[in-house]
């Protein structure tokens, strides 16, 4: 049952994309900024998790929790230092700054610890599980489980808590939200915190799944997650989840068909096609520019 195995692989890769894509989509929904540095928060998450496991000897779950706490602080810091001043400037200025922040994080990491890759500790060994005749590694299932849990948690926060309500209000209409007494700044900080925490968790499970991590690892998954967010309709939380899973499946399919060298190009081709024929994505709203 080879195809079932591919399907499982696709879903696990896709759920990593989905976790990163959620951060993109939430931030875009609220401040209309493509947070280029998001992929690098994901990278930092992978490293924080790595050091938490190898240096602090934490278990898997505490390591993920610690990582999420630290990356959410990093996300808030990035917004505070680099993006807040630019909230009312042209989009190009904010986007350029975001690219700058991204490269700053990447090369500062290289400067501090060198560019050499690290190998993630093997927490689950080579144990395999048989599901309906397909064999799969245990960590594939762990990834799936954690991503589903985190996504459910996010749905709960967004729909049933006060801060979630504030986030939805600000993304719908920031000015009206401010008039209703919602602190827009604090809501934006929360959005960055949540998105970055998810990216951090994605970093840890990425390390676990692919075992190799390096300071430039955030670039390609970050861009692909962005593609996933666009595919699902940027600004839409369920869209990011579906988009991530779809992208993971398509990529695995392309590799399985023997075009693995072009796997990285597929995402960008999809992106351009989506932007051309369905710019609002699967779940997005179609917004027209008004004068």
């Amino acid at each position: 049952m080879n195809w079932l195995q591919q399907l499982l692989n696709g879903i696990s890769v896709g759920s990593i994309y989905a976790l990163i894509a959620l951060g993109y989509t939430m931030v875009y929904g609220i401040v209309k900024l493509i947070n280029f540095a998001h992929g690098d928060v994901f990278m930092l998450g992978a490293f924080i998790g790595f050091y938490a496991i190898t240096v602090l000897h934490l278990g898997f779950i505490p390591a993920i929790l610690l990582t999420m706490a630290v990356t959410s602080l990093i996300g808030v810091l990035i917004e505070r230092v680099a993006y807040r001043r630019l909230r009312n400037s042209p989009r190009i200025a904010a986007l350029t700054t975001a690219i700058g922040v991204s490269l700053f994080i990447e090369y500062t990491t290289i400067y501090v610890r060198g560019a050499q890759p690290d190998v993630y500790p093997d927490l689950f060994g080579d144990r395999v599980i048989r599901v309906f005749g397909a064999t799969t590694r245990v960590d594939t299932l762990v990834i799936l489980l954690i991503s589903v849990l985190l996504m459910l948690l996010l749905q709960w926060i967004v729909h049933y808590t006060k801060i979630g309500k504030a986030m939805r209000a600000v993304s719908y209409d920031a000015d009206a939200a401010r008039l209703m007494g919602i602190s827009v700044d604090r809501t934006i900080s929360w959005t960055f915190a949540l998105g970055s925490a998810l990216a951090g968790a994605a970093g840890v499970i990425f390390g676990l799944y692919y075992t190799k991590i390096d300071p430039l690892m955030g670039l390609i998954p970050g861009l692909k997650a962005f593609v996933a967010a666009v595919m699902g309709g940027i600004g839409s939380i369920p869209g990011a989840m579906v988009g991530g899973l779809l992208l993971g499946l398509v990529e695995t399919g392309v590799s399985a068909l023997g075009f693995s060298l072009f796997r990285d190009a597929v995402a960008f081709i999809i992106l351009i096609l989506i932007l051309l024929f369905m710019p609002q994505g699967l779940f997005g709203k179609n917004v027209r520019e008004k004068v």
């Binding site: 900024l33 493509i34 680099a82 001043r85 630019l86 400037s89 042209p90 989009r91 190009i92 200025a93 904010a94 986007l95 350029t96 700054t97 690219i99 700058g100 922040v101 991204s102 490269l103 700053f104 990447e106 090369y107 500062t108 290289i110 400067y111 560019a115 670039l219 861009l223 962005f226 593609v227 666009v230 060298l261 072009f262 990285d264 190009a265 995402a267 960008f268 081709i269 992106l271 351009i272 932007l275 051309l276 710019p279 520019e289 004068v291």
Partner: protein, 315 residues
């Protein structure tokens, strides 16, 4: 709004012409007499190529306001086209330069025509995607050496490069000052308003992309025949970013600003070559700080000439 540059009068034009010829003659004399060593010759070549890249991106971002971060893609297309022509097909260098420009411009049309319906950040991502697709494709074509890259003859020299830079700067400056240039500026300032005034916005956006890509392709030909070897990895997102820094630091909308920034950073680059990480940290910090505290860049959207003109008027 930009203070509109007045067409320079005859005297200024003559002075400019003499200056251009004199600069060429001095450097050429220095090169043939051996006062300018290999190190500085290399630096000059680097500066020239970077000026071409900066000015061609300036036309797209600075003048027309289309945020493109896939410029290295056009550079790569030009570099590989010319390299294939000279090394594999034994064609003359001049033909290769022209072909590099034309093929890159075709790619500009190919990317531009469909994606330019996109705005702002979507366009940025699409161009980034284009650059990556070019790089990954080159990586997988064995004919051009795949990841190992291609050996290229060293054919670029000061005369060819200087000629190309001057021609390009004249074309871009005149294009910007023409009716077409005004239309492009209108697209940058407010696309909806420009369209309402009857400016065919898509046409001008595609035009800017094609012309910008043409010159980036020529820069690619110069690049390929300067550095002996070309590899896909040299045309990654980082290269696009580097070109973007030239334009942003120089001031969005200022041609002389882009040229100045390209010159300045090329020199800095050479001295920081041994410390690539420090260089990137510095670049990104400069970019962030400029955006936060001086978003208009070094020159704003003024040109060098404006500064002198204003001073003359005050005196």
């Amino acid at each position: 709004m930009t203070p509109m540059t007045i067409a320079p009068d005859r005297k200024r034009l003559a002075l400019l012409f003499i200056g251009i010829v004199a600069l060429y003659a001095v450097v050429q004399a220095g090169l043939s007499a051996g006062w300018i060593g290999r190190f500085y010759e290399n630096m000059l070549m680097n500066i020239g190529i970077n000026i071409m890249l900066a000015a061609s991106l300036h036309l797209i971002i600075g003048v027309t306001g289309q945020f493109s971060i896939g410029h290295a893609g056009f550079l790569a297309v030009g570099a590989y086209t010319s390299a294939v022509l000279t090394t594999k097909l034994d064609q003359p260098f001049f033909l290769a330069i022209l072909a590099a420009g034309v093929v890159a411009a075709l790619f500009g049309l190919l990317v531009g025509a469909p994606t330019l319906r996109l705005r702002g950040d979507y366009l940025a991502i699409a161009t980034l995607g284009f650059g990556e697709i070019v790089r990954i494709t080159l990586y997988n074509i064995d004919y051009v050496g795949g990841a190992a890259g291609m050996q290229v003859k060293h054919l670029t020299n000061w005369t060819v490069l200087y000629g190309a830079v001057v021609v390009m700067l004249v074309v871009i400056a005149n294009l910007t000052n023409s009716a077409h240039g005004r239309a492009m500026l209108a697209v940058r300032e407010d696309e909806v308003a420009a369209e309402a005034m009857g400016v065919p916005t898509t046409y001008y956006k595609v035009l800017a992309f094609a012309v910008g890509a043409f010159f980036a392709g020529i820069a690619g030909a110069m690049y390929a025949h300067q550095f002996y070897i070309i590899q896909p990895v040299a045309f990654s997102f980082l290269k696009s970013f580097e070109i973007l820094v030239f334009v942003v630091l120089g001031g969005l909308g200022s041609l002389s600003g882009a040229v100045l920034a390209a010159t300045l950073l090329s020199v800095v680059n050479i001295y920081l070559q041994a410390f690539p990480e420090t260089r990137m940290i510095l670049y990104s910090l400069v970019l962030i700080l400029v955006m936060l505290y001086r978003p208009q860049g070094l020159m704003g959207n003024r040109e060098l000439g404006d500064l002198f003109r204003r001073r003359a008027k005050e005196a």
